[in-house]
Symmetry: C2
Subunit: 449 residues, 2 copies
Amino acid sequence: MAAALRTLFSTRHMLMLSLALNLSLMLKMIEEKSSPAESLIIMEKLQPKLIAEVSPSESTQQGRFEAPQPHFSAQETGDTPDDEDSIVNLDHGDPTMYENYWQQMGDRTTVVIPGWQFTSYFSVASNLCWFLEPELANEIIRLHGVVGNAITDGRHIVVGTGSSQLYQAALYAYTSSGASEPVTVVSAAPYYSSYPTATDCVKSSLFRWGGDARVYDGKGPYIELVTSPNNPDGFVRDSVVNRSGGILIHDLAYYWPHYTPITSPANHELTLFTVSKTTGHAGSRIGWALVKDPLIAKKMVKYIEVSTIGVSKDSQVRAAKVLKVVSDGCEGAGGSDKVECLFRYSHSQMTRRWMQLREAVKESGVFSLPEFSPRHCNFLEQSFGSLPAFAWLKCEDGIEDCESFLRRFKIVTRGGRHFGVGPSYVRVSMLDRDRTFNLFVRRLSKIHR
Amino acid sequence: MAAALRTLFSTRHMLMLSLALNLSLMLKMIEEKSSPAESLIIMEKLQPKLIAEVSPSESTQQGRFEAPQPHFSAQETGDTPDDEDSIVNLDHGDPTMYENYWQQMGDRTTVVIPGWQFTSYFSVASNLCWFLEPELANEIIRLHGVVGNAITDGRHIVVGTGSSQLYQAALYAYTSSGASEPVTVVSAAPYYSSYPTATDCVKSSLFRWGGDARVYDGKGPYIELVTSPNNPDGFVRDSVVNRSGGILIHDLAYYWPHYTPITSPANHELTLFTVSKTTGHAGSRIGWALVKDPLIAKKMVKYIEVSTIGVSKDSQVRAAKVLKVVSDGCEGAGGSDKVECLFRYSHSQMTRRWMQLREAVKESGVFSLPEFSPRHCNFLEQSFGSLPAFAWLKCEDGIEDCESFLRRFKIVTRGGRHFGVGPSYVRVSMLDRDRTFNLFVRRLSKIHR
């Protein structure tokens, strides 16, 4: 009998049957024993992906990966009750909006790191960037290829602890050969508020912050930072200092199709990107630079060696996995209905948020926002105006200090002076969780003079 | 019949039976189908801990957590055949020696990070060190309590991307109030070779490297770095500049019982530690500072905010888990036979390695090593002389350039000049993998004049 059975069922078949029996028994136990909340937890342990599809997260009203409708009802905004004492803090660009997407993606980007891994400082000791994990390098190249937002051929990849570290590494690389005077670093106002602080932090004799690039008329060597789309105002930019011999650093943290149309692959000397604004994993602190000149790349590596002896390998392998899943989900997505593609999903989110914000601004009558002309996005295969990660809000009606004005309504933003312009502007993060964002637009819409 | 069975077996019992069936079937499949290598892989997936116990790693000859015998036979050293063309690189302090221990610990320190975690820059926004994961803070405090090597009461913990970043954060914190002259930074020679480079990297106007603390006679404000036990020579140190008003930074990276007797808990203004040298996880880039003055701690946090906007949370949770497992394994270990305790295990390894090295030096006759008097270790409850993470080797017999001399035998070390002393000294890492270390001592023992 046993022998006969063995001819009918291989061990493998028996195993499949047995596994099926497990699952049915487990599900039965859940039914028998558990409260709904308990069964959710048990099921999550069993099948994280399945749960992600039905988990009651902040925006489940939209269903899984259904592109959110750009039209929203008063009811929807009203879903988040406004506790008037709560502080709505949108000062930082904390990209917690993405948490929801990754929850829905379940265990696809879960990483498991065994305890014995990464006892070495080195990834590949003989590589130019010896602390760069090869799998991260591969996924960076692949993702740029999928999206078409940067040329990676003939570039050296330097990984950094966020793009902040790479910014300083680039300053060091371009100035460490040692001129007699510090090299002036400029950027057109409004510029990213961290540039002045990061540049002048330890009062380097190699470089110093020079302020607004539009008014720069120095004769010596200079470095111009070009952030495009720009933080804080979202506009696409080119260099503005019209002089030969200037060094350009391109910060393209926001040159991704959820924020702005991808019109051509970037092709610069030195370009910075960051995981924080690409996939939302700000806590991992991973950025990368694409660098043409190997000598500059080597000096950047030297800076990172001296300042932090490399970059967390745990975060590198995690970033590699996340970028891989993004590429897998977006490869060939373009204009198609591959709604799991991060960029399509987030693009819809941003479209909805910007419409909510513009409606709130209209309802209030006290503020204004920049307008963006539609351009064709080669990746999404559609035309749209930019949907920046920050709103560059202006107080009208003679309100001089917009940051203080909004604080009266317990809305915390970053005032224009930090960005080299007047206090009638504030920068507001558009990437916070739904709850916070909804509170913000609701409160904003009720502000009248 | 079915009803009768149901009274005999609950669903839970059926599940247990079914799971047992799975396991037996899987093991059968492994037997039937797999080559030994395949079954190792499959088994590893099933039971990582079990595999770790039997995996053929570099030093399995010692068995799991059997304290290695300090006496070794010629046979044992001979286990590693010397390919005379291979380069033995012991320039860096790459702590790959620990890989073997963590392999043997199996899955106890495996971390699983879901894809939706860490989309925020913040750990606890209201904390002084807002990017410090609370579980890491708890495990740091606990481990210092278990080992008794530092007082944590009344200290602020600042986490850094390795202690290199914390060193720079400390320089910034003590000097950013802005004197007219850069503050001089000194350390008694031989000092850690990275200090001069890290201090003068971007030619700060806040601080500058001043060299050997023993010859410092400046009148202005100064910072003295006290590394104890010292890198490169392993000696326990106190400050040497005998002047009031000096600021002390204590780098206690090696003040752990595998390297040196723990004689009392450190009680300083600002103390640096690093996971790299405590548990060997150098690739995670996690260090921490214990800081008395909250204003200094706040400025260090500011520096890390500006330079890298915090520290990898992936690596922080991993470090927290590793430190927890170390505390669990070492709590109350002291002089007992709790051989799984990392410090006991590594202390035995270091004892063996130092004996091997001293025998090789004796056999060669060309070199000398520092001697360390035994002191009582409160943690291990025994007396021993220091077992430094680096050997500070001196070439005798009129060999002037020890680094070049050793390169002739394809041994790469770091010459004395990097540490502020003469070229007759070299620093050699004692923390590399068994294979490399064995090659090193074997080759060294054969060098004669």
